[in-house]
Amino acid sequence: MAQVAQRNIPTIDDLKVKLCYICREEERYDAPEVPPKAWTHPCNCTLVAHEACLLHWIQTSQQNRSRAANALKCPQCGTAYELESKNPLLLRLMDAANRGLSTMGKVVTIASLTVVVVSLGTGMYIISTAYGAYALKEFLGEEMFNLLLTEDPSNWPWHSFINLPLIPLALIISRLPLDIGVTPIVPVLLAWPTSSPVHSRDRIILELWKSSADVLKRSSYPMLPSWPPPPLFLGLFIYPVVRGAYKVLLTKFSRWVLNTQPEQANAPVQRVVLALNDDGPFRIRIGANLEDPAADRPGRVQAGQADAQPGDAADNAEAEGLPDDAAVAAENTIRVSGTSLGRLIGGALIIPRISSFMGSLLFRMSKHSWVLRRLLAIRPPLPSGLVPPALFPMYDEKAWRAMSTAKQIGVAGVMGLSVMWRGTYAWAECDPVWSASSVSILAAILLTFTRRWRNSLGLGIFTVAKDCLHLLHLWLTKRELESRRVKNRSFEGVDIRELDLINPAPAS
């Protein structure tokens, strides 16, 4: 045993024949290569190789990410190769630094991507919020705006940071053809009626609100809605109803004007496609696309001509089949010529401005009309520095505390209902700018809560006006298409002898 232990364990140099497992070259012990080549036995099995071959293999494999894992082990027995190299501390430090920098580079890449995304998002958010505040100001009027929001964002209630950026979004969504009933002003109407005035130091709640004899009357909360309708009520009930009714009426009117047939059962699917290009918060769709092909209509031939216009093809493809009617052709013509995404978005974002403009127009007109004044519920502006109480005039913390829990709940419930029904005092007492818009909504119709009201009415009126204009455009286009004729010319300038005439020209 001792002998065995003492016997030299063979090494690579003891082999009779060395076969490189990489290049398959052999070397016999009795015929060494000249110049000599270094051999190595790096593992626990019988594989041997030229050192140069093996290093080449290791180096090549390490450069390939997917192979690197297998680079430093024997393919047969799996033993890890051990490399000896000049690997001073400096090199190892530099390698480590290099790896560290690579890792940091990845971190920086991710971080900068995140920063880009976040800043884009934040930018969008800030712009949306600023736009929301602008829209609100346009829509509610200076007075309400200063009361509810003010120019200073530090005064804003927390929910405004959710509500405001949603306003442009809602405006744009409302103009998409999706029939989900989102109406442009609803977010404004829903978001703000319950918010109480912003508290700032220089504003005092005047005793007026508590002492006025008026207060007793008000605090009884009659079950009839006030005029103008409170925003919540307007947004939730009146506006959708009016809008629906308006749509139906407009459709009927359009059909009558353009002399088209009611659409058929499968039309709605198609309408979504076609209406993508539509403008206006209130969709005007004549819906003549699926006209009965058998219908014998005078407009047909002309519609055929319209089809031939370049640019119409895409629309016709959408419509699954050729439009049979000049009205459709007219619609296509208009849509092809004047629609784009920019128009959709721009049109949506300008709604507050339009509504404000229409509201001020109504306001000016109201100076000459008592009825309009009543309708718009125009009030003198609040005295400066005056802030109406948040919820109800009798609000008194002491009295509130004195109530029993049940009574507190009861009072709170009544208050909630009254907010729903009548709006808060802040809304009720301010010049209902929005009412003009609401009349707009009433026309489209109900948007103008006095200024809000006024602006609402204004927007509605604007919408109606715009729809009428669009209809007129359609009608004129249709008429143009129907009346098209190719101009007839005489054979002036043509050699008569080339023509096969009924009454041949006398040979001259």
Partner: protein, 160 residues
């Protein structure tokens, strides 16, 4: 002086000529050290009984450090076997041709491995992404970075 690649290939060829190919594998053509052709069939019980396929090996000058490009020949007289790791253009998704290639392997070892890959096949079907892959596949299967884990192969992406 002949390159390492051709010297090693000459040795492999000599071995094949001297000892013959493994059962079921025949050398069809090895006229140069760039492209070799083999016929391959699975002997014994298998889904491919009676089918003979044609294999093409393409070597580059860094063989055996780099793996050979191996694929089944798809042509008038031969088809690629229907196998979950073989695309209909003949490309093969096998790890030993990619990241598990090692110079200890040889041409005949690759043939034997592919033979056993066919022999152990349970169901004759194409890879799930066959159509997509074949449409955009590069001519050389080595340019495809296959993904080898999992029951079915899938392509990570093509380097083209």
């Amino acid at each position: 002086m002949a390159s390492i690649s051709s010297r090693r290939l000459r040795k492999e060829l000599n071995e094949i000529n001297a000892e013959g190919c493994p059962c079921g594998i025949k050398l069809l053509n090895a006229d140069n050290f760039e492209t070799w052709f083999f016929s391959i069939e699975v002997l014994g019980e298998s889904l491919y009984q009676g089918e003979v396929f044609k294999l093409m090996f393409r070597f580059d000058s860094s063989y055996p450090i780099s793996s050979p490009a191996v694929q089944f020949v798809v042509g008038p007289d031969s088809q690629a076997p229907i196998h979950p790791h073989v695309y209909s253009n003949g490309h093969i998704c096998a790890s030993i041709l990619g990241n598990e290639w090692s110079p200890v392997l040889s041409v005949s070892a690759v043939c034997v491995t592919l033979q056993s890959m066919l022999a152990s096949c349970k169901a004759k079907e194409r890879p799930v992404d066959n159509d997509r892959y074949v449409r955009y596949a590069p001519d050389n299967p080595k340019k495809t970075r296959f993904h080898y884990d999992g029951k079915y192969p899938h392509i990570q992406h093509n380097i083209s």
